[in-house]
């Protein structure tokens, strides 16, 4: 090679650093893209928005004779719905991104992993806000869900739950090779939490071993948080703790999800 003896300590490269850990415009571009994809699929949007409302409506009249029970279960479900739906939607969406080759293409471009993850979280978070607002509004104003605290706090917990669902979905999609497997992760990841979160029976009534397990599952805190709002007029310390735990878990799992995105694959 006849490379001229170039000054070894040449001026810093002219190329602008193309990839930063998090770029706001690339994140919003990704979120916009995800929402645009959904906008071409009105049926999915309709299902996402309507199913929680229909379930709450059903539940209200299933417990027609015992409005107390409806209060308990209804409030818990307001936290559980966004978690489940966002888990399903995200795990399938990111699996598609992995299998269609668009993920490989994006990671060969100057897109940070954080941009992609944050973009998804932003898009599905926005969707979850609308979904939860509809469900909460219906429950509080039309189905007489008796909430002592502020409905805004219910909405806040619902949003955090949706983020947690998005995070879990993103994470497990790395371990699914097909849509069949991805859907099976729903019962595997969500059902145990559903059984142990205190929806069916208070957590302190469970076998001590199960209670200990439920103490480390994030959905337990989502349901606890909802119940705090249900019973107390103001933000209790327990509520703050629950909300922080759910948010912390969501961030932790999102970071784990980012770690599963590999620029180089075999």
């Amino acid at each position: 090679m006849t490379t001229p003896t170039a000054p070894t300590a040449s001026a810093p490269t002219l190329t602008p650093a193309p990839t930063r850990p998090l770029s706001l415009s690339r994140t919003t571009a990704t979120a916009t893209r995800v929402l645009r994809q959904l906008s071409h699929d009105p049926r999915t949007i309709a299902l996402l928005m309507l199913i929680p409302c229909v379930m709450l409506f059903l539940l209200r009249y299933v417990f027609d004779g015992s409005p107390r029970t409806f209060d308990n279960i209804g409030a818990s479900l307001l936290g559980i719905f966004p978690l489940i739906t966002m888990f399903l939607v995200t795990s399938i969406a990111t699996l598609r991104e992995r299998t269609s080759g668009t993920l490989e293409r994006l990671l060969a471009m100057p897109l940070g992993k954080g941009d992609l993850i944050a973009g998804y979280a932003l898009a599905f978070g926005a969707l979850a806000i609308v979904q939860s607002a509809l469900a909460t509004g219906l429950a509080v104003w039309f189905l007489d869900l008796d909430v002592t605290g502020s409905p805004w706090l219910l909405l806040l917990v619902a949003l955090l739950d949706a983020l947690l669902g998005t995070a879990l979905g993103l994470f497990v999609s790395a371990f699914a090779a097909s849509e069949f497997q991805a859907v099976q992760f729903m019962p595997a990841v969500i059902f145990p939490q559903l059984l142990l979160c205190g929806l069916f029976t208070p957590r302190d009534n469970m076998h001590p071993a199960l209670e200990a397990v439920s103490d480390v599952l994030p959905m337990s805190y989502a349901v606890d948080g909802m119940n705090e709002v249900l019973r107390h007029t103001d933000m209790t310390a327990t509520f703050v703790r629950d909300a922080l735990i759910v948010a912390g878990c969501a961030l932790l799992v999102l970071a784990l999800g980012a770690a599963t995105l590999k620029r180089r694959t075999t």
Binding site: A29, Q37, H40, S100, G101, T102, E104, M109, T265
Partner: protein, 278 residues
């Protein structure tokens, strides 16, 4: 690893001898393993700048793996692989390389224009660049002849049209190196001719380097240089003319078959001598 001075400001027209810019791709002893299988074994070759280099070989010979290694998405790459003067996969290369995978990688549930808008924004983000991006998107849609389908969902297009959307994404931002994995598969002869005309004009007008794989040998005649591969090894690295002359063949296809037969025969005698010496 070699250190070259930064060069992106000036793009020399052709790979001349006094050219200070490093070659588009330079590989030495390049080996890639997937699981227990060695897919590429000790490759050494150079892809000159500003030219169209064809990567040819039977399916399964490692063409796609080599391309993935060059764009930096292949894991377990050993040996030297420099791209545009930097080690393959360097973050600074991500805006300088356009890559088209074999299967079209676009969002089926977005329109052609929405697909390109998104990828353009990833390459060149920010509000300030919006006008430039719009022009760029319109240009690449015209380049791949999809202007009439710009607002159609990618999923509703035919296979050939979808692969052209995928190609258009790679053309965004005028990359210096285009790595195209079988971009003309499944296209009719007219479109194939048009795309090859486009490749030649990209190489001639912009001085961009194109590395294009194919297993259609008649496309080989349209390349400036050829890399013939077989079972993870480079059989030949030459111009189509030189290949034909060297093997005394009429067509590149014939030349390739002759080289493959030679390689097979050589492998057989090598195996036999090993047995007899044992």
């Amino acid at each position: 690893m070699m250190n070259y001075p930064p060069d992106h400001a000036s793009r020399p027209p052709e790979g001349r001898g006094d050219d200070p810019a490093p070659p588009a791709v330079h590989a030495e002893n390049l080996t890639v393993t997937r699981g227990t299988r060695t897919v590429l074994r000790g490759l050494g070759f150079t892809v000159p700048r500003g030219r169209i280099t064809g990567l040819l070989g039977p399916s399964g010979c490692g063409k796609s793996t080599l391309m993935r290694a060059i764009v930096g998405t292949q894991a377990k790459v050993a040996g030297t692989l420099d791209v545009l003067g930097r080690p393959a996969g360097h973050p600074a290369l991500r805006t300088r390389i356009g890559y088209v995978t074999q299967a079209p990688s676009v969002f089926d549930d977005l329109t052609v224009r929405q697909n390109l808008d998104y990828f353009a924004e990833i390459l060149d983000p920010g509000r300030a660049a919006a006008a430039h991006r719009r022009e760029d998107v319109t240009r690449v849609i015209a380049d791949v002849d999809l202007t009439g389908h710009a607002d159609a969902l990618a999923g509703n297009l035919s296979g050939g049209q979808r692969s052209r959307v995928s190609l258009a994404v790679a053309l965004l931002g005028a990359p210096e190196l285009l790595v195209l994995d079988e971009p003309t598969v499944g296209l009719d002869p007219v479109l194939r001719r048009d795309l090859w005309t486009l490749f030649h004009s990209i190489a001639a007008d912009r001085g961009a380097t194109i590395l294009v794989s194919s297993h259609v040998m008649d496309e080989a005649e349209r390349c400036h240089r050829l890399l013939l591969m077989r079972e993870g090894e480079v059989l030949a690295d030459d111009t189509p003319d030189a290949l034909r002359t060297r093997t005394g063949s009429e067509t590149v296809e014939e030349a390739f078959l002759r080289l493959v037969d030679d390689a097979k025969a050589k492998a057989r005698t090598a195996a036999r001598t090993k047995e007899t010496t044992r």
